[in-house]
């Protein structure tokens, strides 16, 4: 069992950076892998060991891992400026980061931070991202870490570089560096009215100086480039169709791949007849263990060849979605006890002090990320070296996966991530990369593999389903007495309560998951917020106290109180009362450095639920790019609405029942409510990530509003997959 430690009172600062990182990593890296136990000839392995070195592979890890176990502690950021920053002879600034762009717009916001600290125009900065050969090691783009971690790192790099440039100028002019300033890509001596460009100073040479530990950073209140809206980098390429996603890449002689999938999860291959496929001209067939795949010069031929393969599979009986929640309550059979618990005071001894007690259970279904660009990879082997372009959030982990699968030293694998057609936590693993590389190895030609939508719905991983039991008690005046919270399977993220409760026991219980599960935008924070904020609402109604008043009464955290106030004022909370058919709900919380409060108005008519209006306030410290942030928050609300209202993966005996967009409903235009985002810009606070937490408020706010409109308390996400229970929608 892992103790979540103390310090809950300071929810906002309880864990230090490295603890947050560890906890994030455990949750993000626990995704099981599809089995790719290749058996091909290994003799080449030793031949290439010790082969040519590549640039910038600082502290790359060559040890093979099991199921992606954490090796991140061995990777430290490179210490010198040249690993991160280059200033060309014409003054163009290139920054290098292992983070990737998947629609969260960090290519822009990181460039803004570089431009700000280096004091150069934003247009002169470009970023090289997610290329294992060119960028410093990075654990992955997840956990809302890009802004607080990489943003800060690039700020320090750029501020150090600025100081170095000023120092170089001081030496060149024999001047006091304190008399010099940096702006617009130049170092200036304002008094002597003299200036020199960075380009002239650096002359295209490497900046080999060490990054200062504590360089003088420009405070957010003085920001000129960061802190203001900046248009998305390369935005024009996205409206013209010119941007090349992984699935758009084309290499000379490239083939298209197709994988023959098992007929159920955990199936073993009994027999396989590939003879008909092999007769099709130009088709390369691979059978390696249970892996079967084909490649051909065009998609149609590859599809046809895959269909011509006769494979027989044997799958064990598996549970179905009807049995899911009973199953999740059973303890995990795994020897590793990943139970996580936080205890304060005594729930048992305080029960009698409560005037009102309440005990309820909440459930969340499995849901799919459904990135519009499915998993895709283009793999090319050249002189024993493997290069793979793929849309992943973890290029370095995928590179290690490839090195392991093909018994290569890590220097001989390069993974490049083109800006990708979304991920939402769903692209941490390298299945498509490994599969494309296996096909390319067999055919001797580059291979592109794009998963079909059905493969994406079946063979990717899901947001964990979960059961959450909450038991609570409060005094008649509304102050909380005890809080007991048991989360089965969905995950520990944000399971602690931000409310002041003297007696708490909060526990995460791992289960034997029936489906392959893993990260999803905000991890379990969406489920835990749903359970907690629904339960708070129920308790408020039991106590006959206004749900907002009840929350604020039990809150000390100023920043959380501030977002509740900001959202409720804009929403005009309390101005309109619940009536038959119209309801208002509120919810809020804290996670990953972000404070959120969400108000929702719903209308219920003939059993149909329509979310009419959503106001969400969000505080993630000093805002780097207001327009980008607003876009993220509004999008998170919209995506969160899917899981809140209707998204659910249905499964039966090892098969997904609804692996198509016609059967798995995601939010569309007609689901769009009127959304207003209130940005609480705290220039006095560190900038934190915003990709995830804005998704956590919508489900409970809507559930609470439905209760207001219809008097029906819904405790299962999705809330209304086929309309309000008991009504024909």
């Amino acid at each position: 069992m892992r103790d979540s430690g103390c310090g809950l009172g300071a929810v906002g600062s309880g864990m230090n950076d490295s603890e947050v990182q560890d906890s994030e990593f455990r949750q993000h890296d626990s995704i099981s892998r599809l089995p790719h136990p290749f058996n091909f000839d290994r003799r080449g392995f030793f031949k290439v060991l010790g082969g040519g070195l590549l640039v910038c592979i600082a502290a790359r890890h060559a040890i093979s891992q099991e199921s992606g176990a954490a090796v991140h502690h061995d990777h430290e950021f490179p210490k010198t400026l040249d690993s991160w920053l280059h200033i060309s002879e014409n003054g163009e600034v290139t920054a290098f980061t292992g983070k990737v762009e998947v629609g969260q717009n960090v290519r822009t916001s990181l460039a803004q931070q570089v431009a700000e600290e280096l004091r150069v125009p934003l247009t002169s900065v470009r970023l090289i991202m997610g290329d294992t050969e060119l960028t410093p090691y990075d654990m992955g783009t997840f956990g809302s870490r890009t802004t607080p971690q990489m943003g800060m790192q690039l700020r320090k790099v750029s501020a150090s570089a600025r100081a170095v440039l000023i120092q170089m100028t001081a030496e060149r002019w024999a001047a006091d560096s304190a008399s010099l300033t940096a702006e617009d890509g130049k170092v200036r001596n304002p008094k002597a009215n003299r200036s020199i460009t960075y380009a002239e100073l650096v002359h295209g040479q490497k900046l080999s100086k060490v990054i200062a530990d504590d360089p003088e950073l420009i405070p957010a209140k003085d920001w000129k480039i960061a802190g203001s809206s900046a248009p998305k980098t390369n935005a024009r390429d996205f409206v013209t169709g010119a941007h090349q996603y992984t699935s758009d890449i084309r290499l000379p002689g490239m083939l298209h791949g197709k994988i023959v999938r098992p007929n159920a999860f955990h199936a073993k291959l009994i027999s396989c007849d590939t003879s008909q496929a092999e007769k099709i001209p130009g088709v390369s067939v691979v059978r390696d263990g249970d892996f079967i795949g084909v490649s051909a010069a065009d998609v149609l031929t590859a599809d046809r060849a895959a269909q011509a393969i006769r494979a027989q599979w044997d799958a064990p009986p598996q549970i179905s979605d009807r049995e899911l929640f009973d199953h999740l309550r059973k303890p995990a059979s795994d020897k590793d006890d990943d139970t996580e618990q936080y205890v304060l005071g005594s729930v048992e001894q305080s029960r009698t002090q409560a005037a009102k007690t309440l005990k309820q259970s909440y459930t969340v279904a499995y849901i799919a990320h459904t990135p519009l660009e499915p998993r895709a990879a283009v793999a090319e082997w050249k002189d024993g070296k493997l290069t793979v372009w793929t849309g992943t959030q973890r290029p370095f982990a995928v590179s290690e996966e490839l090195a392991q699968a093909f018994h290569l030293p890590s220097e001989n694998v390069r993974v490049i991530v083109p800006d990708t057609g979304s991920a939402y936590g769903g692209k941490h693993t390298g299945e498509a990369a490994v599969e494309a590389a296996r096909l390319a190895k067999a055919s001797g030609k580059p291979v592109k593999l794009i998963w079909s939508r059905e493969e994406e719905f079946t063979w990717a991983y899901f947001r964990p389903a979960g059961v959450i039991d909450v038991s609570s008690g409060a005094k008649a005046d509304g102050s909380l007495v005890f809080w007991e919270f048991d989360n089965y399977n969905s995950g520990p993220a944000a399971m602690r309560t931000p409310y002041e409760v003297a007696n708490q026991r909060i526990t995460f219980h791992p289960s034997d998951a029936p489906l392959r599960q893993g990260s999803y935008r905000s991890l379990a924070a969406a489920a835990n917020h749903f359970a907690r904020e629904s339960h708070m609402d129920e308790l408020a109604h039991e106590l006959r106290i206004d749900p907002l008043e009840f929350r604020v009464k039990n809150l000390k955290d100023d920043r959380l109180r501030a977002v509740f106030q900001a959202a409720s004022e804009k929403f005009r909370w309390g101005k309109h009362k619940n009536s038959i058919g119209t309801g208002f709900g509120i919810a809020g919380g804290f996670e990953k450095g972000g404070y959120i409060a969400t108000c929702a108005e719903v209308s219920v008519e003939h059993g149909g639920v329509k979310v009419v209006r959503v106001i969400q306030a969000f505080d993630c410290g000093a805002v780097v790019n207001p327009q980008g942030l607003e876009n993220q928050i509004a999008g998170a609300i919209m995506q969160g609405l899917g899981g809140a209202l209707f998204e659910a993966i249905r499964f039966e005996n090892g098969r997904i029942v609804n692996p198509h967009l016609a059967e798995y409903r995601v939010p569309r235009f007609s689901d769009l409510p009127h959304i207003e985002v209130v940005l609480v810009d705290r220039k006095d606070q560190r900038s934190m990530g915003a990709g995830e937490t804005p998704l956590t408020g919508i489900a409970p706010a809507v559930a609470n509003a439905i209760f207001g409109a219809a008097g029906v308390r819904l405790r299962s996400m999705p809330l209304v997959p086929s309309g309000l229970p008991g009504h024909a929608a």
Binding site: S247, R250, A634, G635, L661
Partner: protein
């Protein structure tokens, strides 16, 4: 089998099987990769192209049905460096995040404005319902369509 297709105003030759979906002919044979694969089921709209001005899902259209029809893809909307007003409005409003759905959205919206120059919000929603933006930028997309309608309707553009 050899097909002559009229794509973005020029004749293109493709030697492909008749049942090959237009989507793959565009992407793999004609190297017009702006049109995206999203589902292959006609459910997401990422592969939307105009066929004689009508928005169609190119993943569901066998190339053999395209003879003699005018096909317009995202690459065919701009005139040289000058973006189509819908593209310009998407750019100005930043009506995207990962932008994978964007070409399909723009092509659908351009078709709407061709026939309904001044659409109401309900008309936009109903016309665009078949296009999915998984990042959820719907509000901005509606705003962009409105902006484009205003641009197209202004005397400057007449």
């Amino acid at each position: 089998m050899a097909f002559i297709l009229l794509v973005n105003g020029t004749e293109q030759h493709a030697d492909v099987e008749p049942e090959k979906p237009l989507l793959y002919v565009l992407r793999d044979d004609l190297e017009l990769t702006g049109t995206k694969y999203g589902c292959g089921e006609g459910q997401c709209g990422a592969c939307t192209v105009l066929v004689d001005g009508i928005p169609e899902r190119s993943c569901r259209l066998p190339v053999s049905s395209m003879m003699g029809k005018k096909i317009t893809t995202i690459e065919g909307l701009s005139r040289g460096d000058r973006l189509h007003p819908v593209q310009q409005a998407f750019l100005d409003i930043e009506a995207f995040q990962c932008a994978y759905c964007t070409p399909g959205m723009i092509v659908s919206a351009a078709a709407l404005l061709e026939r309904t120059p001044n659409p109401s919000e309900e008309q936009i929603v109903s016309h665009m319902e078949g296009n999915i933006c998984r990042c959820g930028a719907y509000a901005r997309i509606i705003e962009a369509v409105r902006r484009a309608a205003a641009t197209l309707g202004s005397p400057k553009n007449a």
